[in-house]
């Protein structure tokens, strides 16, 4: 037995040596990359050497990260790990459930202290105007499509989180609760399989509920030209888990009765005649096809006869909703509190806002740390 084992060692070792040495050499030769689209972060560069960083050990820590960040075939190896995990029956990687044919983000816990501050600021903001205010909390795939979760999953109760949030809002703010609507369609393609966002279809059903709540009339799918713009979308959840073989289709819904409009990104001082970004389809995060991603403030001006002016305070879920709103408003001002640092109340007056809509997905809302600071006007502090 000993002899046979030795001969295996002698067969295996030269192969391993070759693998290790070649990998080592190729690693040193290959040029470093500065960013990883799959991980959505910058990669460690070769550390600068000086006495200080040597003394406190930073050099060594950075060398470790540099070597692993720049490692040959890093992304392929991460996908291999995913495949092995998947084959071994793993049902959750970090906070992502490996569901039935889909990846599903777990429910966030509630940042209670910040939630109270946000609610206070929202209530104060909305009650200080005689303007109808609406609040829509979108449930996530984890609660709407809970039948696709792996067996015995025990996520936190998102419905309760949403109920409690709605309960904290001032009674003058109208709640747009789309949970039952989405529940009715839960077997459809409401959420991307590889991304934490909803699809245009999910947004569309929610818009139907919203339209009746906000008095925009009846809408049906026939009112839109539906264009599939991508069928190889691999979103953030694919990035988090390293999943392979799962791909998503992105549809855009263009209203048939759309007028011309101009989109102005006042943070980046750019204008465009479309809310869709074709270039986004060439990047990894194809969801940014809607609005080109998140910006502090975007204003859309329509060439139509509407007398309504909407202020939309939102997170990235709203980006897929804006396409439905355009025909109904003369202007839409879109604020993302995470990136907007100016006085919102001044904007309400100057833009002659007639409707205020908050649109958030539950997971982001429960963790949000920017609404309160954005809405509290400097004079109130």
């Amino acid at each position: 037995m000993k002899k046979s084992k030795g001969s295996i060692a002698k067969m295996l070792s030269p192969i391993l040596v070759v693998v290790i040495v070649i990998t080592g050499i190729v690693n040193l030769i290959l040029p470093d990359r500065s960013t990883s689209p799959m991980e959505n972060r910058s990669l460690q560069a070769f550390p600068s050497m000086n006495w200080n960083s040597f003394q406190n050990g930073d050099v060594f820590r950075e060398l470790n990260s540099w070597y692993s960040d720049q490692f040959l075939g890093r992304e392929k190896l991460i996908q291999l790990k995913y495949l092995v995990n998947k084959m071994a029956g793993t049902n959750k990687i970090d906070d992502v459930f490996l569901g039935k044919g889909t990846l599903i983000e777990d429910v966030s816990s509630v940042n209670q202290e910040q939630k109270e501050r946000n609610l206070q600021a929202i209530n104060a903001f909305c009650t200080s105007y005689e303007i109808p205010s609406y609040f829509m909390i979108t449930p996530n795939a984890v609660s709407v499509q809970s039948d696709r979760l792996p067996a015995f999953s025990t996520p936190l109760d998102q419905n309760q989180q949403i109920d409690e949030y709605y309960d904290g809002l001032d009674s003058s703010i109208q709640r747009i609760d789309v949970r039952s609507t989405l529940e009715e369609h839960k077997d459809e393609y409401l959420y991307y399989k590889t991304d934490h966002h909803w699809t245009s279809l999910g947004a569309f059903y929610s818009f139907q509920a919203m339209a009746s709540a906000m008095g925009l009339g009846d809408v049906s799918k026939e009112d839109y030209d539906i264009y599939p713009v991508s069928d190889d979308f691999e979103g953030t959840l694919a990035g988090k888990t390293g999943s392979v073989f799962l791909k998503d289709q992105i549809d855009i819904y263009v209203p048939k009765n759309n007028s011309e409009y101009i989109v102005s990104d006042l943070t980046n001082v750019t204008t465009s005649r479309s809310i869709y970004s074709r270039e986004a389809l060439d990047t990894r995060d194809q969801y940014t096809v809607f609005m080109g991603g998140n910006a502090g403030r975007i204003t859309i001006e329509m060439d139509n006869d509407s007398s309504r002016h909407l202020l939309l305070i939102k997170d990235s879920y709203a980006n897929a909703m804006i396409q439905f709103l355009i025909p109904y408003y003369r202007t839409i001002d879109i604020i993302d509190p995470r990136y907007y640092f100016e006085d919102v109340s001044r904007l309400v007056n100057s833009q002659m806002i007639t409707d205020i809509l908050f649109l958030y997905n539950s997971n982001t809302l429960m963790q949000d740390t920017s609404i309160a600071d954005c809405l509290v006007m400097p004079t109130q502090e």
């Binding site: 067969m11 070792s13 693998v19 960013t35 470790n64 291999l80 390293g242």
Partner: protein, 452 residues
């Protein structure tokens, strides 16, 4: 630096090996190894390299001194040197614990990596010289390498000076030993990267579970994690040492198949139990006089060595108590029981031991025991969720800790089927590749929003 990092496997190890290989004399080989060992050590915390050098110098000089002196002076030199070693160990490892007992605030400093291991190596040297088992080391480089060699400094095995001494003059880097070393290293890497780290995830995901099934899984996953972690690291250490021509004794021998607690400690962390036997238990009198006292002292110290916390002390004394119990009461019955029962008996007692070991406090250890016997809450869906997601891990892990896997291997080799070499080689290669994937994956962090 740790063995299961990409930079060690693909950069540090090959470069060190090639340099060691091409320099002509043993002296130069040892010099290269010593310098790279210091580099390896400074990777964790450059400042503590000084501490390592002080320890080497102190023990080198003491060794020479011990050879010169006789009688009472010799005794004083020896004991003061031991005291100095223990003082360094105590200062870094136990200061905060002692202050805590008196309700005082501790200091904020990191424990030097491998301190417990290289201190014990140094004591082994002094004791062997003091007992005249070996001559004092005249060559400071050899002693430096004995204490600091990167193959064993961070987590052992605690190599004994008398075993290592002849090897410093001559450690031929031959092909057969190299191959055995590399295969052992691969095995250790698989244990660590694939199994230990996966069990660690199971363990942490069950930390708050209060059901009976959950608590058993929680304890079991730790039991698996620590075995794969520690024995994997030992395998890698011995493998690395072999590649450079050094031979170390095995450190783990299927401990979870042990037939008794006594047997378990002959198979678990063998170098540590041997160290305590040779340098504490036997000098105290062994089983010739004060047997019970000696056992309790040894196990108190064994517990304390593992960490500065009452939980570790209790864990050590738990084993001391069990060994006494086996010796005086159980052994007569145990011998008559079927093998399977004896193994289950040992396995369960060892499992209970780990509960003390992994708990932050004795209170939380008993909390876990409470959950393990909470018949009001047999199972919940979280426990089921974790179990269902890790069935192959538990099954494979269980098989690999036992002797079954080795028996299958042995059977295959003896019968010798046609493609055994190719099958085994590819299994190891795939194992290596997947382990590297898991190591890469552990450095992976993907952000939902741009994190530049």
């Amino acid at each position: 630096m740790v063995f299961n990092s990409l930079i060690f496997i693909f950069c540090f190890l090959p470069i060190t090996w090639i340099l060691t290989r091409i320099v002509p004399t043993t002296f130069l080989k040892n010099l290269v190894l010593f310098i790279f060992s210091l580099l390896f050590y400074s990777w964790n915390d450059p400042f503590y390299v000084l501490l390592l050098l002080i320890s080497i110098a102190w023990n080198y000089l003491t060794g020479l001194e011990l050879e010169k002196e006789t009688g009472k002076t010799r005794k004083i030199v020896f004991w003061s040197a031991i005291a100095f070693n223990l003082f360094i160990l105590g200062a870094f490892k136990y200061t905060n614990f002692l202050l805590g007992i008196f309700g005082l605030e501790g200091f904020d400093f990191a424990l030097p990596v491998g301190l417990s291991f290289f201190t014990f190596s140094a004591i082994s040297y002094l004791a062997d010289v003091y007992k005249n088992d070996v001559p004092a080391q005249k060559n400071p480089l050899s002693l430096g390498l004995y204490i600091a060699f990167f193959g064993k400094i961070s987590s052992g095995p605690i190599a004994f000076y008398r075993d290592m001494e002849p090897q410093f003059q001559n450690h031929p880097m031959n092909f057969t030993l190299f191959c055995e070393g590399l295969i052992l290293f691969t095995k250790g890497l698989i244990k660590k990267a694939l199994f230990a780290d996966s069990f660690a995830l199971v363990f942490s995901s069950l930390a708050t579970n209060t059901s009976m099934a959950g608590a058993w899984l929680y304890a079991l996953s730790y039991m698996m994690q620590i075995y794969f972690d520690f024995s994997g690291y030992s395998d890698m250490a011995i493998g690395v040492s072999n590649m450079f021509g050094f031979k170390l004794k095995i450190n783990f021998d299927h401990p979870y198949s042990a037939k008794s607690i006594q047997d378990f400690w002959r198979r678990w962390h063998i170098s540590l139990s041997t160290w305590f036997r040779d340098y504490v238990y036997i000098p105290l009198g062994g089983n010739r006089h004060d047997y019970v006292r000696n056992i309790l002292i040894v196990w108190f110290l064994t517990g304390l060595w593992h960490g500065a916390n009452w939980t570790f002390i209790l864990w050590g004394l738990y084993y001391g108590g069990l060994i006494l119990l086996e010796k005086f009461v159980l052994s007569a019955y145990l011998d008559k029981l079927p093998m399977a029962i004896r193994r289950i008996y040992t396995f369960v007692l060892v499992l209970f031991g780990w509960v003390f070991f992994f708990s932050d406090s004795i209170l939380s250890a008993f909390g876990t025991f409470g959950h393990m016997f909470n018949f009001m809450n047999i199972c919940d869906s979280q426990a089921l969720f974790v179990l269902v997601g890790h069935i192959p891990l538990f099954v494979l892990g269980f098989l690999l800790t036992g002797e079954l896997f080795d028996k299958v291997e042995q059977f295959c080799f003896q019968k010798g089927f046609r493609y055994d070499k190719i099958v085994y080689t590819s299994l190891y290669l795939i194992g290596f590749l997947i382990s590297v994937a898991f190591v890469v994956g552990s450095t992976y962090q993907s952000f939902l929003y741009f994190a530049f």
